[in-house]
Each structure stands twice: as structure tokens, then as C-alpha cells.
Symmetry: C2
Subunit: 205 residues, 2 copies
DNA sequence: ACCTGAACACCGTTCAAGT
DNA sequence: ACCTGAACACCGTTCAAGT
């Protein structure tokens, strides 16, 4: 039907095209289904073609991660705020299927720069921390945001698979306060850390 | 040499034997090299034999995780202490190659009970938090410990592979205070959270 | 009860060769 | 510069069959 009549100049793909394809495969299949072959299929290309654009899968994943955590809102936030920046990072991760896991691995491998981290450092400095303490505070918040969101997103996946039974599916925190949502739990834990950071500012004076 | 002369009664393996084999494969090859086939080889058994003992790889990993985080020191600690319990959990994770990653996935899938979490809840209650706040505090600490250690252990791996260059290999915190070790950074972040928890105890009174 | 042997449906990565 | 086609060395899981 289309083999002989095709007169197209054979469309060539760019790096951003590959990232686009990877992100749509991720959205549809999750990180477990994000294979190089599926990405290639999405682009109507052979798997080996991907290796001209990226040296390996991790590098492609790092580019996907950068897309997730980098955006317009970076310049908007005028006054640096710990809670707002941490919450915005969480929202970014939640906006993509398995976002926390993808970002976590790129970050740990040193393949990703997290813009939110610098904003957290600035906010901590503005709160009165020393340079060294501000770095520690930023890393603590980043670990908390990614850890919490990773856990939350993996649980969604586990629920779909049915791997965990109903009793385990409820986190212990939910038993203590049955009305709390993940958002509330996240905010409560975040408030704890931010409060600790404020104390450090006072103590370090 | 040994095929015809073998008179052994064909040794059968138990569940703990499989976990033993998995842990030694993990120690030698890391989580990336922890395959069902390598575990089977370690036991001198066919891969399919593993599926009589465990329904799938995740269940085996959960049993490995439980070994890592459960131990004798659980009953020893008389007075519940937030800092000591969090530090002890970190030490457990560090004691095994890729320990944080293995435990993290089992935990997120709801396949692992973390004894340290209950001890953290108890410590938070003893510090004066409400029931709901103590659960949040425990989860916050668990996320921090696992997130920090996971990041640290992945970086070790990245350094071995040589994936990250030297400039990225140094965390930003290290640039600010060049003498700080991972242990110091961990302790500093932990102190931040514990301080926040103490504030919550005062505020909730 | 515990394990073998063989298969199924996949993986990431490499590489000569084409245009 | 960008991609194909084919191969290499792996995966997790299933299942009939053996003892």
C-alpha cells in the first residue's frame, strides 16, 4: 500500500525527537516498559539508530530527566522560598509517570543538574544559614522530596499490579490519621524539615 | 571425574539458602548483576528451581531486604532515640552493596516491614509528638536516610563505571566545605530534621 | 516436595554496511 | 550525518516432566 508509492525524503530525527518519543513511551508504559526498542518503534526507526543520538540508555534517561525538572517557572519565582520550591519540585515529578524514579537515578549518577537545588540553596541562604549549612539543607530537602514522591509513585504501580494486599497498601501514617492525603503527609514532613532549617539559622547566628 | 562416582543424596535447598546465595551474588556483582541465573549458578541449580522457593524476583529481593534491615540490635536499644535509630539504619544499608536501592524498592512495593520505622515512631512519641505527627516524623526520617544513602551508594557505582567526570563527582556540598565526609553531611542533615521534630513537639503542646 | 530441561518473549549494545 | 540489518550476550518467567 505504501511501500512503493512512498516518495517521502526519509525524515531524520533530532535529539529532542528521541526525547519526545521516550517521554511518550514512559507515559504509556511506565519505566518498566521504557525500552530502547519501544522508543525506536515510536520513532519508526531501528533500535541501533538511537545510539547515534545517545551513547546509551542512561544518557537518554538523563535528557528525559532534564526535561522533567527544567522549565519556565525557574525564572518566575522572585523571592526564594523553601516550601514553595520543594512543593514545585514534587509537582514536577508527579506530573510524569515514575518521574521520581527516573530523576533519582539520573541525579545519583551525576548526569543531571537540578535547578531546584540551587533555588533551595538561595532560599536557605536568605533564611540566614551559612554557605555549608545551606548546601546541607538543600540536599536534605531534595532527598526528602524525591524519596517521598518515589515511594508514592511506586505504590501506585504496586496497587495496579496488585502486588501489595489492601492492609499493606495503607501506609501506617494513614491508620493514625485516616483523612490525610499524600499531599497532606508530604506537606507535614516538609514543614518538619523547614522548621529544622529555621532553627539552624537562629542557632548559627 | 565426579559424574559417575557421585553418591551424594542430591542436596535440597531451603528458602534461607536461596537468600544466602542472592546476598553473595549481590556482594560480588551489585544489584545490576543480581540475576536469577547467577543466583541459580551460585546454588548449582537450574533457574527454574528458584521459582519453587519464591514466586518471583521481587519476592526474593524482599527476603534479602528483610535480612539487611532486621537483626539482633533491635531489642538492645533501650531508650528510643531518633538520631541513633536513623544512624543505625544507615549503617545497615551501607553494610551491603546497593543496600539502599534494594531496600527502597521492597519498601515502596509494600513487601517489607522496616523495624526501624516503629522505633522511630516510639522515639517521636517519647519526644512529645502526637500519634499522627510521630508517624509523619518517622516517614520523613526513613525517606531521608534511604534517599541519602541510595544517592551515596549510586555515586560509588558511578565512580567505578567512570560515568561521571571528576567535577560532577564532587557534590556541591563538598565544594562549600571540602573537609566534610558523607558521614558528616548525613549527620548534619539528620540534625536538621531532628531539630524540626523537636520544634513540632513544643508547638503541638 | 523439589528440581531439570527447554522454551517464550523479551532486553541493551555493537558494528559493518548502506545512503 | 543518519540509519539499517543482523548479531551477541544476556534477561524474568512458565511449564511439562522427572524423582
Amino acid at each position: 500500500m505504501n511501500a512503493a508509492s512512498a516518495d517521502q525524503p526519509a525524515p531524520r530525527r533530532s535529539k529532542p525527537d528521541v526525547v519526545d518519543a521516550a517521554m511518550s513511551v514512559l507515559a504509556e508504559n511506565g519505566i518498566a516498559g521504557l525500552s530502547m526498542r519501544r522508543i525506536a518503534d515510536e520513532l519508526d526507526v531501528q533500535v541501533s539508530a538511537l545510539y547515534w543520538h545517545f551513547p546509551n540508555k542512561q544518557a537518554l534517561l538523563a535528557a528525559v530527566s532534564a526535561r522533567m525538572v527544567t522549565g519556565e517557572s525557574d525564572a518566575e519565582s522572585d523571592a526564594p522560598d523553601l516550601t514553595a520550591t520543594a512543593t514545585a519540585l514534587r509537582d514536577r515529578l508527579l506530573a510524569h509517570r515514575d518521574g521520581a524514579e527516573v530523576v533519582s537515578s539520573s541525579l545519583a549518577l551525576g548526569l543531571l543538574d537540578l535547578p531546584a537545588r540551587q533555588r533551595l540553596v538561595d532560599a536557605a541562604l536568605a533564611a540566614g544559614l551559612t554557605d555549608a549549612a545551606a548546601e546541607v539543607a538543600a540536599d536534605t530537602l531534595v532527598h526528602y522530596v524525591i524519596g517521598f514522591t518515589f515511594h508514592e509513585q511506586q505504590r501506585v504501580h504496586a496497587a495496579v499490579i496488585g502486588a501489595a494486599d489492601a492492609s499493606v497498601d495503607l501506609s501506617p501514617a494513614r491508620l493514625a490519621s485516616p483523612d490525610a492525603s499524600p499531599d497532606d503527609d508530604f506537606a507535614a514532613g516538609l514543614a518538619l524539615i523547614v522548621s529544622g532549617i529555621r532553627s539552624a539559622a537562629v542557632a548559627g547566628r
